[in-house]
Symmetry: C2
Subunit: 340 residues, 2 copies
DNA sequence: ACTGGCACTCACTCACGACGAGTGCCAGCC
DNA sequence: GGCTGGCACTCGTCGTGAGTGAGTGCCAGT
């Protein structure tokens, strides 16, 4: 495939111009705006090749060229260097995140910040329970047969759950239960808890067995298996900027719907194991409703560990270098904050 | 003002037809679809009067009539009876809400249900802290100088906060603090706590005074004064159904923006003191960005008390009787659930 | 291998006329 | 007095058709 340097340069120019103007770009405009050193005719020939290879296409027979998903992909992979953040952006990030008082606050600020900087829809996953470790477990009697089970994780997340006990329990028993649970589970990653808590039930004293069993099943069921991941979302209104064209076609509806489905959004972060940014362009998305968009996502967490994902959803026609840089930067800062 | 019964009937017919078809309704179509018993010409005369009074208007000189905000207002106040829910809807509500495991779940289910039934954007305010009473306070040592303060309210809401203590405290002290706090505050409405906790500091023993003071200030500051009200939102995608006309005009943007601002949304519930539904139509909204929409809101809570608000935001052109009925019904069911 | 020239395509804009839904008004009727 | 049928008028919508211009593909020339 004859993709010499100049053709790649042409592709880059097309992507950049199209992202900037949102309009199909023609050969003449290209040579005017970029120092390609060749004539429009030559560029046209290159364009013909690029089109044949599926990197660009013409919306109409006699219009300029527009990058295809594949074109963006090539651009992202080989033609763009990640833009370093401007000092102003760095400062904005720091100022915005400093002063967050708790985990909720950090997540909320992060998601708003991301939406604001990228002018896109931002999604931040709360530190995943399964990847966190137990810092403390607390049992709070609510009535004689009801306990509140509170779990605090090392990422600062707090989960609580009311537990209906099979029968009344004495304060002493509760103290004992609390002691046992903490002795066994503190410091343990949530993923690793199931075998441990099973052992707890078996070793429990006869009269406390039923209670312990109830507690454990609640723990497993609600806190581990059905690890309800929470999400924060911001910048939905930026979707309205996607271009009036897309609006009237009704393309907005499915996107908004997808953004409301937590289950769907969580899929975006299924595979963020590392801190490297991942870009899914248009058709590359597994979520069908997001095929008209691109998703830039990354993991975050203290140090090198990943406790959750964050990212943005926007039109395929977006400023990839800038967006990737911003997402990465915000993720890094949030990770630092989690390290306290 | 010559608003006899027939003219009102005409207005009602216009509102109903317009809501159903989303198109300006003309005199001929009106007499065909409704048994008004008069000719189109007569209806035209009535329409002229209605227009003069500001209840309807013509989008163009030669088009049908469309209700104005004032017209909707009259319709809601005097021309519509609240539609009783269909048995299917009742069942849907019950089935959907039953099986909620905790407060979070109730709120989430309620908001989704509301969005689904009304096909509008739904908002549910979490039971307000200030209107709830303390059920239990718990202190959990996280480290020697850090405590987790957990508060459980009678509406099932749980708030927690990490407190940095001025110095290390002994387990005994914590037990004592816990006892004192609970003895003083359990059963007390949050609004009424400030004077009580002040007394606590004054009566505290010298060596525990600093600790108690810290605790109390955290309590006041974060749990009462800065009573961060939480919200659940659903059905944003229904906005995309507002009509392609409204979409292309860019009217969507400000609405989406308003919906993202929690502060703005909370204003919607500022005045829901009773269980009666409140309808704000178009211009009646204090929130400028929502002037293009109508808001149906109501309070909810166990019994006759109101612990929070819920409602929907939709186009002024909406099915008011049906929507009001649905909002009321969901609020009533949720209120019942909170009564356990 | 690049360039200038040229014919061609086709979306977009605008003007024009036909159409028709809907209105306001008026004279007549009950 | 209130209702009705008739009628002229308005004006938005739709379809047609010509003009325009950006942009292309191809080819012959350098």
């Amino acid at each position: 495939m004859g993709l010499d340097d100049r053709k790649l340069e042409v592709l880059r120019a097309i992507v950049e111009d199209y992202v900037a103007t949102q309009e199909p770009v023609g050969s003449k405009a290209l040579v005017e705006r970029h120092a390609l050193g060749v004539s429009p005719a030559t560029v046209r020939n290159d364009m013909a090749v690029l089109e044949e290879e599926g990197f660009i296409r013409q919306p109409h027979t006699s219009a300029g060229r527009v990058p295809t998903d594949r074109g963006y992909r090539l651009f992202v992979d080989r033609l763009s260097r990640v833009k370093p953040l401007s000092p102003a952006e760095r400062r904005a990030i720091e100022r915005f995140l400093v002063g967050a008082v708790d985990l909720d606050d950090v997540v909320h600020r992060a998601v708003r910040l991301l939406a604001q900087l990228t002018r896109q829809v931002a999604v931040v996953q709360y530190p995943s329970l399964t990847r966190s470790a137990v810092r403390h477990l607390e049992l709070v009697p609510v009535s004689t047969t009801r306990l509140l089970l509170v779990m605090i994780t090392d990422t600062g997340r707090v989960e609580q759950r009311v537990v209906e006990l099979p029968g009344p329990v004495e304060p002493d028993e509760i103290t004992e239960l609390r002691r046992t649970l903490n002795a066994t589970l503190v410091g343990v990653k949530l993923v690793d808890t199931p075998p441990l808590v099973q052992g707890l039930v078996e070793r429990a004293e006869p009269q406390g067995k039923a209670t312990m069993s109830t507690l454990v099943s609640v723990l497993l069921e609600t806190l581990v298996e059905r690890h309800e991941e929470r999400l924060a979302l911001a910048g939905t209104s930026n979707l309205a900027r996607m271009g009036p064209l897309d609006l009237s076609t009704g393309a907005l509806r499915p996107i908004l719907e997808a953004l409301e489905e937590e289950v769907i959004l969580l899929k975006l972060f299924d595979e963020v194991k590392s801190g490297a940014a991942r870009v899914r362009i248009g058709d590359e998305n597994e979520v069908v409703d997001l095929r008209a968009t691109s998703v830039v996502s990354t993991g975050y967490g203290p140090g090198a560990t990943v406790v959750g994902g964050m990212g943005i959803v926007g039109p395929t026609r977006m400023d990839y270098p800038g967006t990737i840089a911003t997402v990465r930067a915000v993720a890094r800062y949030v990770g630092e904050m989690l390290g306290h």
